[in-house]
Protein backbone atom coordinates (compact mmCIF):
# COMPACT_ATOMS: atom_id res chain seq x y z
CA UNK A 1 0.00 0.00 0.00
CA UNK A 2 1.09 3.52 -0.62
CA UNK A 3 -0.61 6.62 0.70
CA UNK A 4 -3.99 7.34 2.26
CA UNK A 5 -5.98 6.69 -0.95
CA UNK A 6 -4.82 3.07 -1.19
CA UNK A 7 -5.37 2.61 2.54
CA UNK A 8 -8.95 3.89 2.48
CA UNK A 9 -9.60 1.92 -0.70
CA UNK A 10 -8.33 -1.34 0.80
CA UNK A 11 -10.43 -0.97 3.94
CA UNK A 12 -13.46 0.10 1.91
CA UNK A 13 -13.09 -2.89 -0.40
CA UNK A 14 -12.79 -5.25 2.58
CA UNK A 15 -16.07 -3.92 3.94
CA UNK A 16 -17.83 -3.87 0.55
CA UNK A 17 -16.94 -7.42 -0.43
CA UNK A 18 -17.70 -8.71 3.08
CA UNK A 19 -21.12 -7.03 2.87
CA UNK A 20 -21.86 -8.63 -0.48
CA UNK A 21 -20.87 -12.09 0.76
CA UNK A 22 -22.90 -11.80 3.97
CA UNK A 23 -25.91 -10.54 2.05
CA UNK A 24 -25.86 -13.80 0.08
CA UNK A 25 -27.23 -15.45 3.23
CA UNK A 26 -30.41 -13.40 3.06
CA UNK A 27 -33.40 -15.80 2.87
CA UNK A 28 -30.96 -18.73 3.19
CA UNK A 29 -29.78 -18.54 6.81
CA UNK A 30 -30.39 -21.51 9.14
CA UNK A 31 -33.15 -19.65 10.98
CA UNK A 32 -35.08 -16.42 10.54
CA UNK A 33 -33.44 -14.68 13.47
CA UNK A 34 -29.98 -15.43 12.07
CA UNK A 35 -31.12 -14.24 8.66
CA UNK A 36 -31.82 -10.80 10.12
CA UNK A 37 -28.60 -10.83 12.14
CA UNK A 38 -26.44 -11.54 9.08
CA UNK A 39 -28.28 -8.92 7.05
CA UNK A 40 -27.66 -6.42 9.87
CA UNK A 41 -23.97 -7.18 9.87
CA UNK A 42 -23.87 -6.92 6.09
CA UNK A 43 -25.48 -3.49 6.29
CA UNK A 44 -22.95 -2.39 8.92
CA UNK A 45 -20.17 -3.40 6.55
CA UNK A 46 -21.87 -1.66 3.65
CA UNK A 47 -22.18 1.52 5.72
CA UNK A 48 -18.46 1.49 6.50
CA UNK A 49 -17.69 0.71 2.85
CA UNK A 50 -19.66 3.73 1.65
CA UNK A 51 -17.84 6.10 4.02
CA UNK A 52 -14.42 4.68 3.18
CA UNK A 53 -14.94 4.57 -0.59
CA UNK A 54 -16.42 8.08 -0.65
CA UNK A 55 -13.38 9.31 1.22
CA UNK A 56 -11.03 7.35 -1.04
CA UNK A 57 -12.67 9.01 -4.04
CA UNK A 58 -12.10 12.45 -2.53
CA UNK A 59 -8.47 11.63 -1.75
CA UNK A 60 -7.91 10.46 -5.30
CA UNK A 61 -9.35 13.68 -6.67
CA UNK A 62 -10.25 12.13 -10.02
CA UNK A 63 -14.00 12.63 -9.68
CA UNK A 64 -14.82 9.04 -8.75
CA UNK A 65 -17.56 8.71 -6.14
CA UNK A 66 -18.49 5.65 -4.06
CA UNK A 67 -20.60 4.19 -6.87
CA UNK A 68 -17.88 4.60 -9.46
CA UNK A 69 -15.41 2.86 -7.17
CA UNK A 70 -17.79 0.07 -6.20
CA UNK A 71 -19.37 -0.68 -9.56
CA UNK A 72 -16.95 0.40 -12.26
CA UNK A 73 -13.72 -1.29 -11.25
CA UNK A 74 -12.61 -4.76 -12.34
CA UNK A 75 -11.21 -7.40 -10.01
CA UNK A 76 -7.60 -6.41 -10.59
CA UNK A 77 -8.41 -2.93 -9.28
CA UNK A 78 -9.97 -4.18 -6.06
CA UNK A 79 -7.72 -4.04 -2.99
CA UNK A 80 -9.68 -6.21 -0.55
CA UNK A 81 -8.02 -9.05 1.32
CA UNK A 82 -8.64 -12.56 0.01
CA UNK A 83 -10.39 -13.58 3.24
CA UNK A 84 -13.58 -11.62 2.51
CA UNK A 85 -13.98 -12.85 -1.08
CA UNK A 86 -13.84 -16.56 -0.20
CA UNK A 87 -17.18 -18.33 -0.76
CA UNK A 88 -19.50 -18.56 2.22
CA UNK A 89 -19.27 -22.34 2.43
CA UNK A 90 -21.42 -23.77 5.17
CA UNK A 91 -22.49 -21.75 8.20
CA UNK A 92 -19.33 -22.71 10.09
CA UNK A 93 -17.10 -21.30 7.34
CA UNK A 94 -19.09 -18.07 7.31
CA UNK A 95 -18.70 -17.76 11.08
CA UNK A 96 -14.97 -18.50 10.93
CA UNK A 97 -14.55 -15.80 8.29
CA UNK A 98 -16.63 -13.35 10.31
CA UNK A 99 -14.69 -14.11 13.49
CA UNK A 100 -11.34 -13.44 11.83
CA UNK A 101 -12.58 -10.37 9.98
CA UNK A 102 -14.11 -8.82 13.10
CA UNK A 103 -11.07 -9.66 15.25
CA UNK A 104 -9.03 -7.74 12.66
CA UNK A 105 -11.43 -4.86 12.06
CA UNK A 106 -12.07 -4.14 15.75
CA UNK A 107 -8.47 -3.25 16.70
CA UNK A 108 -8.01 -1.65 13.28
CA UNK A 109 -10.96 0.72 13.62
CA UNK A 110 -10.09 1.36 17.27
CA UNK A 111 -6.57 2.41 16.28
CA UNK A 112 -7.98 4.40 13.39
CA UNK A 113 -10.24 6.34 15.77
CA UNK A 114 -7.11 7.82 17.32
CA UNK A 115 -5.18 8.54 14.12
CA UNK A 116 -4.24 11.98 12.81
CA UNK A 117 -6.59 11.92 9.80
CA UNK A 118 -9.89 13.33 11.08
CA UNK A 119 -12.10 11.65 8.49
CA UNK A 120 -10.57 8.22 9.07
CA UNK A 121 -10.77 8.79 12.83
CA UNK A 122 -14.49 9.54 12.58
CA UNK A 123 -15.10 6.44 10.45
CA UNK A 124 -13.10 4.32 12.88
CA UNK A 125 -15.01 5.66 15.88
CA UNK A 126 -18.31 4.75 14.25
CA UNK A 127 -17.31 1.37 12.85
CA UNK A 128 -15.54 -0.02 15.91
CA UNK A 129 -18.80 -0.34 17.83
CA UNK A 130 -20.27 -2.30 14.94
CA UNK A 131 -17.18 -4.50 14.76
CA UNK A 132 -17.44 -5.22 18.48
CA UNK A 133 -20.90 -6.62 17.86
CA UNK A 134 -19.78 -8.63 14.83
CA UNK A 135 -17.03 -10.15 16.95
CA UNK A 136 -19.51 -10.94 19.69
CA UNK A 137 -21.91 -12.56 17.23
CA UNK A 138 -19.26 -14.67 15.51
CA UNK A 139 -17.66 -15.65 18.83
CA UNK A 140 -21.00 -16.81 20.18
CA UNK A 141 -21.54 -19.13 17.24
CA UNK A 142 -17.96 -20.41 17.06
CA UNK A 143 -18.10 -21.31 20.78
CA UNK A 144 -21.43 -23.03 20.39
CA UNK A 145 -20.52 -24.98 17.30
CA UNK A 146 -17.02 -25.84 18.51
CA UNK A 147 -18.20 -26.93 21.92
CA UNK A 148 -21.44 -28.43 20.62
CA UNK A 149 -22.00 -31.85 19.12
CA UNK A 150 -19.36 -34.07 17.58
CA UNK A 151 -20.56 -33.10 14.11
CA UNK A 152 -20.68 -29.34 14.81
CA UNK A 153 -17.19 -29.51 16.35
CA UNK A 154 -15.84 -31.35 13.31
CA UNK A 155 -17.30 -28.83 10.88
CA UNK A 156 -16.26 -25.79 12.92
CA UNK A 157 -12.68 -27.08 13.19
CA UNK A 158 -12.64 -27.81 9.46
CA UNK A 159 -13.86 -24.26 8.79
CA UNK A 160 -11.17 -22.70 10.98
CA UNK A 161 -8.51 -24.84 9.28
CA UNK A 162 -9.80 -23.89 5.85
CA UNK A 163 -9.89 -20.13 6.45
CA UNK A 164 -6.86 -19.70 8.72
CA UNK A 165 -4.19 -19.36 5.97
CA UNK A 166 -5.95 -16.24 4.70
CA UNK A 167 -5.59 -14.25 7.95
CA UNK A 168 -1.85 -13.65 7.54
CA UNK A 169 -2.39 -11.30 4.62
CA UNK A 170 -4.32 -8.94 6.90
CA UNK A 171 -1.23 -8.11 8.92
CA UNK A 172 1.36 -7.49 6.21
CA UNK A 173 3.53 -4.64 7.53
CA UNK A 174 2.95 -1.19 6.07
CA UNK A 175 4.73 1.36 8.26
CA UNK A 176 3.61 4.27 6.06
CA UNK A 177 -0.13 3.57 6.51
CA UNK A 178 -2.24 5.59 8.98
CA UNK A 179 -2.39 2.37 11.01
CA UNK A 180 0.31 -0.24 10.38
CA UNK A 181 -1.57 -3.56 10.12
CA UNK A 182 1.38 -5.43 11.63
CA UNK A 183 0.73 -3.70 14.97
CA UNK A 184 -2.73 -5.29 15.17
CA UNK A 185 -1.56 -8.90 15.09
CA UNK A 186 -1.05 -9.37 18.84
CA UNK A 187 -4.54 -8.09 19.61
CA UNK A 188 -6.01 -10.34 16.90
CA UNK A 189 -4.16 -13.41 18.15
CA UNK A 190 -5.25 -12.84 21.74
CA UNK A 191 -8.93 -12.41 20.84
CA UNK A 192 -9.01 -15.37 18.49
CA UNK A 193 -7.10 -17.64 20.89
CA UNK A 194 -9.59 -16.87 23.67
CA UNK A 195 -12.55 -17.82 21.48
CA UNK A 196 -10.94 -20.94 20.03
CA UNK A 197 -9.89 -22.15 23.49
CA UNK A 198 -13.38 -21.78 24.84
CA UNK A 199 -14.76 -23.47 21.74
CA UNK A 200 -12.37 -26.43 22.31
CA UNK A 201 -10.94 -25.77 18.86
CA UNK A 202 -7.30 -25.99 17.85
CA UNK A 203 -5.57 -23.06 16.23
CA UNK A 204 -4.01 -24.35 13.02
CA UNK A 205 -0.28 -24.21 12.47
CA UNK A 206 0.69 -21.26 10.35
CA UNK A 207 2.20 -22.35 7.09
CA UNK A 208 0.82 -21.54 3.67
CA UNK A 209 -0.06 -17.84 3.62
CA UNK A 210 -1.78 -16.80 0.40
CA UNK A 211 -1.73 -13.06 -0.29
CA UNK A 212 -2.05 -10.62 -3.16
CA UNK A 213 -5.44 -9.05 -2.49
CA UNK A 214 -3.87 -5.71 -1.56
CA UNK A 215 -2.11 -5.73 -4.93
CA UNK A 216 -5.20 -6.67 -6.91
CA UNK A 217 -4.28 -10.32 -7.40
CA UNK A 218 -7.40 -12.19 -6.29
CA UNK A 219 -8.90 -15.64 -6.23
CA UNK A 220 -11.30 -16.54 -9.02
CA UNK A 221 -14.18 -16.11 -6.58
CA UNK A 222 -13.99 -12.32 -6.61
CA UNK A 223 -14.82 -12.04 -10.32
CA UNK A 224 -18.08 -13.96 -9.86
CA UNK A 225 -18.99 -11.86 -6.85
CA UNK A 226 -18.31 -8.62 -8.73
CA UNK A 227 -20.28 -9.79 -11.76
CA UNK A 228 -23.37 -10.20 -9.60
CA UNK A 229 -22.77 -7.03 -7.62
CA UNK A 230 -22.04 -4.79 -10.61
CA UNK A 231 -24.31 -6.08 -13.36
CA UNK A 232 -27.21 -3.74 -12.69
CA UNK A 233 -25.11 -0.61 -12.48
CA UNK A 234 -23.18 -1.53 -15.60
CA UNK A 235 -26.33 -2.37 -17.58
CA UNK A 236 -28.12 0.78 -16.42
CA UNK A 237 -25.47 3.37 -15.57
CA UNK A 238 -26.61 5.79 -12.90
CA UNK A 239 -29.80 3.81 -12.20
CA UNK A 240 -31.62 4.91 -9.05
CA UNK A 241 -34.46 3.44 -7.05
Amino acid sequence: MIGPFDFALALGDDALVAAQRLAEWTTRAPEMEEDIALANIALDQLGAARLLLSYAGELEGAGRDEDALAFLRDDREFRNCLLVELPNGDFAVTMAKLLFLAAYQLPLYTALAGCADERLAAIGAKARKESAYHLDHASTWVRRLGDGTEESHRRMQAAVDQVWPYVHELFAPDPAAPVDPATLRADFDARVAAVLDEATLTRPESGWAPAGGRDGVHTEHLSFLLAEMQVLHRAHPGARW
Binding site: E31, M32, E33, E34, I36, A37, N40, T140
Partner: protein, 83 residues
Protein backbone atom coordinates in the same frame (compact mmCIF):
# COMPACT_ATOMS: atom_id res chain seq x y z
CA UNK B 1 -37.92 -3.42 25.45
CA UNK B 2 -37.41 -0.09 27.22
CA UNK B 3 -37.62 2.74 24.72
CA UNK B 4 -35.86 5.36 26.81
CA UNK B 5 -34.44 5.79 30.27
CA UNK B 6 -37.25 6.34 32.72
CA UNK B 7 -39.88 4.43 30.77
CA UNK B 8 -41.04 0.92 31.58
CA UNK B 9 -40.25 -2.11 29.50
CA UNK B 10 -42.94 -2.88 26.92
CA UNK B 11 -43.59 -6.13 25.10
CA UNK B 12 -42.47 -5.84 21.49
CA UNK B 13 -42.58 -9.36 20.09
CA UNK B 14 -41.70 -13.03 20.14
CA UNK B 15 -38.80 -14.94 18.64
CA UNK B 16 -37.13 -18.34 18.54
CA UNK B 17 -33.82 -19.04 20.26
CA UNK B 18 -32.13 -22.08 21.81
CA UNK B 19 -31.36 -20.24 25.06
CA UNK B 20 -31.47 -16.88 26.84
CA UNK B 21 -28.12 -15.60 25.57
CA UNK B 22 -29.05 -16.06 21.93
CA UNK B 23 -32.58 -14.84 22.59
CA UNK B 24 -31.11 -11.55 23.79
CA UNK B 25 -28.94 -11.22 20.69
CA UNK B 26 -31.76 -12.18 18.37
CA UNK B 27 -33.98 -9.61 20.06
CA UNK B 28 -31.31 -6.98 19.56
CA UNK B 29 -31.18 -7.77 15.86
CA UNK B 30 -34.93 -8.03 15.37
CA UNK B 31 -36.26 -5.21 17.51
CA UNK B 32 -33.62 -2.47 17.82
CA UNK B 33 -32.92 -1.88 14.14
CA UNK B 34 -34.46 1.59 14.24
CA UNK B 35 -33.19 2.74 17.61
CA UNK B 36 -36.29 1.49 19.40
CA UNK B 37 -34.65 0.79 22.71
CA UNK B 38 -31.93 1.12 25.32
CA UNK B 39 -32.66 -2.05 27.29
CA UNK B 40 -33.98 -5.53 26.51
CA UNK B 41 -35.43 -8.26 28.70
CA UNK B 42 -36.09 -11.72 27.31
CA UNK B 43 -38.42 -14.18 29.02
CA UNK B 44 -39.07 -17.78 27.98
CA UNK B 45 -42.69 -18.22 26.93
CA UNK B 46 -42.96 -21.16 29.35
CA UNK B 47 -42.29 -18.78 32.26
CA UNK B 48 -45.29 -16.60 31.48
CA UNK B 49 -48.59 -17.25 33.22
CA UNK B 50 -51.32 -15.40 31.34
CA UNK B 51 -54.96 -14.65 32.02
CA UNK B 52 -57.33 -16.55 29.78
CA UNK B 53 -59.84 -14.91 27.43
CA UNK B 54 -62.46 -17.17 29.08
CA UNK B 55 -61.86 -15.39 32.37
CA UNK B 56 -62.24 -11.94 30.89
CA UNK B 57 -65.61 -11.20 32.51
CA UNK B 58 -64.61 -12.33 35.97
CA UNK B 59 -61.25 -10.61 35.82
CA UNK B 60 -62.00 -7.25 34.29
CA UNK B 61 -65.72 -6.42 34.26
CA UNK B 62 -66.07 -5.76 38.00
CA UNK B 63 -63.85 -2.69 37.63
CA UNK B 64 -66.13 -1.13 35.03
CA UNK B 65 -68.59 0.56 37.39
CA UNK B 66 -66.12 1.78 40.01
CA UNK B 67 -65.41 5.26 38.71
CA UNK B 68 -64.37 6.39 42.17
CA UNK B 69 -61.13 4.49 41.65
CA UNK B 70 -60.09 7.10 39.14
CA UNK B 71 -58.67 10.27 40.70
CA UNK B 72 -61.27 12.44 38.96
CA UNK B 73 -63.01 13.95 41.98
CA UNK B 74 -60.36 16.44 42.94
CA UNK B 75 -60.43 20.15 42.11
CA UNK B 76 -57.25 21.08 40.37
CA UNK B 77 -56.11 24.57 41.42
CA UNK B 78 -55.51 27.06 38.63
CA UNK B 79 -51.95 27.27 37.45
CA UNK B 80 -51.01 23.69 38.31
CA UNK B 81 -50.24 22.31 34.91
CA UNK B 82 -48.71 18.93 35.61
CA UNK B 83 -50.56 17.51 38.58
Amino acid sequence: MRARRGLSHTHVGSLHAPDAELALRNARDLYTRRQEGVSIWVVPASAITASSPDEKDAFFDPAADKVYRHPTFYDVPDGVAHL
